[in-house]
């Protein structure tokens, strides 16, 4: 048990260090690298919770796809951090005020926290006994049966996101020349070639 708690503190500490670095790094590329580091630590925390499937998905999806995509975007967009920070000081008081209000609210929430008396009976998805089914199966059972509707609607949301990305960015280039294999194959010599019998001294009229 002591090893588990040591691992917990290690992962949480590293996750916090990583998260702070994401915010405070000057270079956005470094920020993304720290973000990846944070994801790895969060995955470690999931493993400690016994949710190994979620941990692996976190690494595969967030580190493998999302963070790398971030990295590409950050490197390609050439964001100048100094121009982005220009308004920082003017907005700082308002931002700090909102932050303080939120902090006070959070303190109130945690100070007066109570769970509804009926909550235990109402629990949406109680954890099944881990000895009976592995957590991948438990997740699948909820996702594809009970929450199939939400799963499908999320699919439609992604479809709309795809349509949106195409609508907003795709342009049909008029100037580029494309190879059209059908036209090439369909061409016959008679379309392009003309055999002319040239009489001596007359030349050819073009």
């Amino acid at each position: 048990m002591i090893i588990a708690s040591l691992a917990f503190y290690l992962f949480s500490l590293m996750a916090m260090v990583g998260a702070l670095n994401v915010i405070f790094q000057r270079n956005p590329v470094h920020s993304v690298l720290w973000l990846i580091f944070t994801f790895f630590n969060a995955a470690g925390l999931f493993v400690l919770l016994g949710a190994e499937f979620v941990a692996m998905i976190l690494v595969v999806v967030y580190v493998g796809a999302v963070a790398v995509l971030f990295l590409f975007v950050v490197m390609m967009l050439d964001i100048n951090i100094t121009t982005m920070r220009r308004g920082f000081l003017t907005y700082l008081p308002v931002g700090a005020l909102i932050g303080l209000v939120l902090l006070a609210e959070l303190a109130l929430v945690f100070g007066g926290w109570a769970v509804a008396p009926a909550a235990d009976a109402l629990r949406a998805a109680p954890t099944p006994n881990m000895a009976d089914i592995p957590n991948t199966q438990a997740l699948g059972q909820i996702l594809y049966t009970k929450y199939a509707y939400l799963f499908e609607v999320s699919g439609i949301i992604l479809l709309v996101a795809m349509i949106g990305a195409i609508v907003l960015t795709h342009r049909r280039r008029v100037s580029s020349r494309k190879q059209s294999i059908e036209t090439q194959v369909a061409r016959r010599p008679s379309d392009t070639l003309e055999v002319v019998k040239v009489q001596t001294g007359r030349g050819v009229s073009l």
């Binding site: 609210e105 109130l108 929430v109 945690f110 100070g111 007066g112 926290w113 109570a114 769970v115 509804a116 008396p117 009926a118 909550a119 235990d120 109402l122 629990r123 949406a124 059972q141 049966t145 009970k146 929450y147 199939a148 509707y149 939400l150 609607v153 999320s154 439609i156 949301i157 479809l159 709309v160 996101a161 349509i163 949106g164 195409i166 609508v167 907003l168």
Partner: protein
Amino acid sequence: MMNAVPDFAPAFPEIMLVLAGMVFLLFGVLRERDSMQLLTGAVIAAMLIAGVLILRQPDTGAVTFGGLFLINGFTGFAKLLTLGGAMLTLVLINNWAQTAGTARFEIPILVLFATVGMLLMISANDLIALYVGLELQSLSLYVLAAVHRSDLRATEAGVKYFVLGALASGLLLYGMSLVYGFAGTTTFAGLATATASGGNIGVLIGIVFIIAGLSFKVSAVPFHMWTPDVYEGAPTPITAFFSVAPKIAGLALFLRVLYGPFGPMLHQWQQVIVAISVLSMAWGAIAAIAQRNIKRLMAYSSIGHVGYALIGLATGTLEGARGMLFYMLIYIVMNVGTFACIMAMRVNGKAVEDISALSGLARTRPMMAAGLAALMFSMAGIPPLAGIWGKFYIFMAAVNAGLIVLAVLGVLASAIGAFYYLRVVKIMYFDEVGPVIERPNAVTGTLIAVCSVAMLAFFIVPSPLVDSAAVAAKSLFPG
């Protein structure tokens, strides 16, 4: 684990619309020529079929997908309103795209998916279902705002809407997570049980965050700041769509969420809604006075109208819900008519948005001026036009629920608001003739005529509409 196939029948209209949307999308992609006109017709036909399917659904209501999706008389009524608003504005959108040469077949499809999102929101019976419906709607709307991507203002509107919308979604999710932490469940039925024994500060803050997120989506003050910019920047008919369909769906969702799962905590959230309502009415009336651009004017006008509709919500009574539904019904017709007028404001083939361009319209285009005047009188709430009846039922509900101060503030705000609506009429009828506005084309002309005549003739047969709104509202109060 129960693995039975859920009952698809209650969600049949939505399933049909989504499938139709995908087929239309394939058709549009595979067809070489631009097929916006054709697909607009197809989308409208699909929406009509969906409307008929909704009408044929049983009045008793049903719950399906493991309690995530609910239909009853109320959802049916709200969905028909949403579909109606979407179809009317789709006609305008197509008309604009064909004349402005910005036709793209994706536009009607995005409108279709946005509408499906709204229908799912209205039917949501669970916080997660609410959220996915809302995101489906919002994401389509962000794209629609920026669809005219060569226009700098439209892209700015799209980005602004997206960033602030994402913030609102964050607030909403934060609130939901607090509520979930309190109740241990996200289903509306479960939440109603959990809050019946009284809430605590945590769940209350959660509800306030949910209210904030939803207020953003219906552009109620103080979460309205995106509205004028987005309304001004987005293409006019798309603004018309924004001002109609999402508002109905958002307000219907507000009713469902606050009367259903959080109904037992009426006295806690009532003050919040009263505050939002008063602020929206006041700001909608005062800030509109200084506007020179008619689309910005309409943005503030719609903020004000949402404020009036929220009075109905604040009452927490059946009468209030009825008043709100009825108000929205009239609001759609008024708004579609007014936006048809704005679309008809073209001088020498170019669209103009300045209110001063309307000067002397009564002499150059008397019919259009008369139509716009009728719509403006209706918005201002001058009897006997339809607008006053919507306000009348809302204020009466507020008085009967003991919210007399709120009703008085509402009347005051509508008196201030009348000023800027009447100013438009004054500009048209008493100012010197300005630029000559072109003759409205067949589509906008017809819509202006139909909407303004509907406003004028409404008082002859008001009862069927009021009654159907009352029947719909009744299903919010089971037992």
